[in-house]
Assembly symmetry: D2
Homo-oligomer: 290 residues x 4
Amino acid sequence: TILHIFKEIFKAGVELQSDDHQKALLVSRKKQPTDTIVNVNGEQIGNGTPTFIFGPCAVESYDQVAAVAKEIKAKGLTMLRGGAYKPRTSPYDFQGLGLDGLKILKQVADEYDLRVVSEIVNPADIETAVDYVDVIQIGARNMQNFELLKAAGSVNKPVLLKRGLAATIEEFINAAEYIMSRGNGQIILCERGIRTYEKATRNTLDISAVPILKKETHLPVFVDVTHSTGRRDLLLPTAKAALAIGADGVMAEVHPDPAVALSDSAQQMDFNQFDDFYEQIMKTVKAYQL
Amino acid sequence: TILHIFKEIFKAGVELQSDDHQKALLVSRKKQPTDTIVNVNGEQIGNGTPTFIFGPCAVESYDQVAAVAKEIKAKGLTMLRGGAYKPRTSPYDFQGLGLDGLKILKQVADEYDLRVVSEIVNPADIETAVDYVDVIQIGARNMQNFELLKAAGSVNKPVLLKRGLAATIEEFINAAEYIMSRGNGQIILCERGIRTYEKATRNTLDISAVPILKKETHLPVFVDVTHSTGRRDLLLPTAKAALAIGADGVMAEVHPDPAVALSDSAQQMDFNQFDDFYEQIMKTVKAYQL
Amino acid sequence: TILHIFKEIFKAGVELQSDDHQKALLVSRKKQPTDTIVNVNGEQIGNGTPTFIFGPCAVESYDQVAAVAKEIKAKGLTMLRGGAYKPRTSPYDFQGLGLDGLKILKQVADEYDLRVVSEIVNPADIETAVDYVDVIQIGARNMQNFELLKAAGSVNKPVLLKRGLAATIEEFINAAEYIMSRGNGQIILCERGIRTYEKATRNTLDISAVPILKKETHLPVFVDVTHSTGRRDLLLPTAKAALAIGADGVMAEVHPDPAVALSDSAQQMDFNQFDDFYEQIMKTVKAYQL
Amino acid sequence: TILHIFKEIFKAGVELQSDDHQKALLVSRKKQPTDTIVNVNGEQIGNGTPTFIFGPCAVESYDQVAAVAKEIKAKGLTMLRGGAYKPRTSPYDFQGLGLDGLKILKQVADEYDLRVVSEIVNPADIETAVDYVDVIQIGARNMQNFELLKAAGSVNKPVLLKRGLAATIEEFINAAEYIMSRGNGQIILCERGIRTYEKATRNTLDISAVPILKKETHLPVFVDVTHSTGRRDLLLPTAKAALAIGADGVMAEVHPDPAVALSDSAQQMDFNQFDDFYEQIMKTVKAYQL
């Protein structure tokens, strides 16, 4: 019947449209079928072996960062995170040490031979940040700060892009495209939970986003278990789920003394918890022969 | 200072309140620290070994159900699902075969020595259903149909309770309490995705709900990967994540010919996909020595 | 170009599809261009003059209901609400007086010549309810309790159908269609807020739903300002907005002594607040010559 | 009883806490009980008479903006909006004319004696923007771009701050505080819809946010009916609701030929629709004696 023919044409039209759209994106797997492996000073991200990024929420002092770095190094790990510029809901909350924080991270990273991941929040700071960090993090609140994306796309430095608080997967992919369209294809995507009505967790970890992002793009995909859940007791189970579903790595916060942390005190691991977390998660890695 | 004392009293008050509240619940782990194992005619659910429930979205005919049952049996599995009463958005969509559907399920289950899980939607049908099904399913749309919960709580038959479309974990736990408070403690909780702004998936699988429910209650927790995602390509990865995070079982839809299914045609597995799904998920089970 | 032609056909296809779908619905304005006016024992709902429904959250005693009825009557109003069957999150919360509650409502309504709106939650109770209430309310948690909808559609009694906690407008319209497809077209739709991430209000009043429902269907549309907001201070402003945007009526809760109410104590108006609310809202009604 | 005393202390504690928090904010009504009136070159915003801001989504050409300006002027209005820097989901969508767009706006505004509202997206552009616009708009995607907020807080120019896509009211208020804490108290808040599961509208207009923001802060509150709804047919009813609930003004998009607009073509009004919209909304203004 004519209605059936219309339906078929309709379907073909829909596919044509979405095909066209996806064909245009540099980050899409249609454009590049093979996985992008991001090279962070020799550390390969997205090569099949999961990578872990640990560190305090915020850089508070040299001693604090060095203490965490020592723990990371002792586990044979290579990546250190820490916030120098802190986007905070209230202007009266601790805003981070800024450039001094980046300097502390750089010094500690040099001493312990680690790679630094740190968030930059102002397009004007990207150029400077390149000298201090090994991975530029763009945070959830800035996922559609397109000026910042463009600036990060214009330098030769890996970028870890976090999904926005209420960003769709399509918007997330397009935000990555802003970076890659400027010439920088060294991008790590990071699912960090989305805002929903549920209040048992700080955000709702959208675990399905991991396989979707792996399918739609050729970029490595991380899961930030700390901000996804906001609960120390959920870090390990969600990290296990992240690796099982195919994430290329996991990010979590570690602090020498979470109770006195200047931010996120309720969700960072102390060193004992960190040891336990790492021991348990390595069992998963081995079980899967990841 | 007096302000500090007030704060301390305040905290104590908060804890007292929530303590009180949780103490009252029969389903809470505070009431019963050990895991409830639900016995479905000899099949132990929640004993540490994951259970799988497969079957078509809707019962359409004896042949259709028998074909699926044969596949399930061939894998050494024991649980069969199928909808006889179908809650559908539109009154003009297929509403299920009703009691005839239950009879088909019963006949097939007897022939293949399987246990039947099927949804009941009317409190008045609970008494009859007991003769046909081994597990009464209460669907997402009925999670707060308290009359149905009370009716299910008044019979001696395991209940699989699905989380509501937009139910909080607290509401979910309280819905289970409706059942248990009537005397029926044989309850399986089932996370099946929640409604969010994200449209890449039919619902958003709230994977963190699994460890939270395991911690807060003593009941077995399942994940329905079909309705969580609504996408055939996400069934396997989400099932792996579900088992990795500690789910007691996984539910997924299988149909002899999904393209002609009377409901959910886009998300059911055909038999080849089912074989592949099961082979892959068993690798996860073995990797974890579940 | 061929692509352009395809696009045009595609658009035509989309319109054809949705046309088809809407054509099928009895509640749609395409089916009946003129407004349905619901007649509740002589009170015309949906005739251009706004209707107000007031009353306590739950029926607690004859004296309580009679006190409210007296206030309603004194304002020249005709509609009284009150819950006899209360769907509550916890089984240990007050569940309502049941049939005794309906009897109280009936007695008071007879004495004060008012029409009663009361929620029914079990399909089995619909037949009985017909003798006690003038409008059967179907609550948010039961909007997709299709057995209840079918039962309500099978009697000759107006139905006030509340939107589900997280129901789409399309699902809401289809729920009404369940009722009308069984023969009962005396339906009042009631927006009562949807579940979102925002916690400043109990739910988020989706005010745009009112003109959409008025456009898509021929049914009267109410706004329940009490449950939309959960805040006494927002009842009046949201009621004003509801009338300004074209709602056919407003529902709000009134209790002789909210502080000791067995449910919803934080959001019901006492009599002084009720007087003030009514005086203010009538100014809006007059300003608009509604 | 001791439990009752505890409860009372508990309540007092809660109030103390939130009191403390709100006392700290410069934007809060506790800090300044009287309404802030924002003066935009003589146009008083927040003085009890509603203000209207109209204009195209994006500045496309001098002729396009001038045509709209002429229509605005003919109605005796004084405010013109238009986007020169356009935050777009895809890097391949029209990104706006940038500084050239600001120059066009300035020229047209001078010719028609209008005041210009235009979005700035890069902190580095704030200083320049001051010479071209009368109100700096900060868009939804940048509501928590704290560097931009700080930059806008450091100049002497009114700021129209839009609520973020999924921002809570508390976060919105704190974003305004970022601006005011830097010395600039000339802030207009703008509700523009929040992201929810409902897809009948582009966003869900959170109309209750208006009275809450008016109560919690002393700042004028606008409603952007275009982005809240994304539907031309809902602009007028939502504008009526906005004024009825107490908004200080309404923003809506107008374009000489929406069908060929470079952005938001589906939701802008053409001049006939604009005439009708304005005529109808003025009836509401008069009815309320606003």
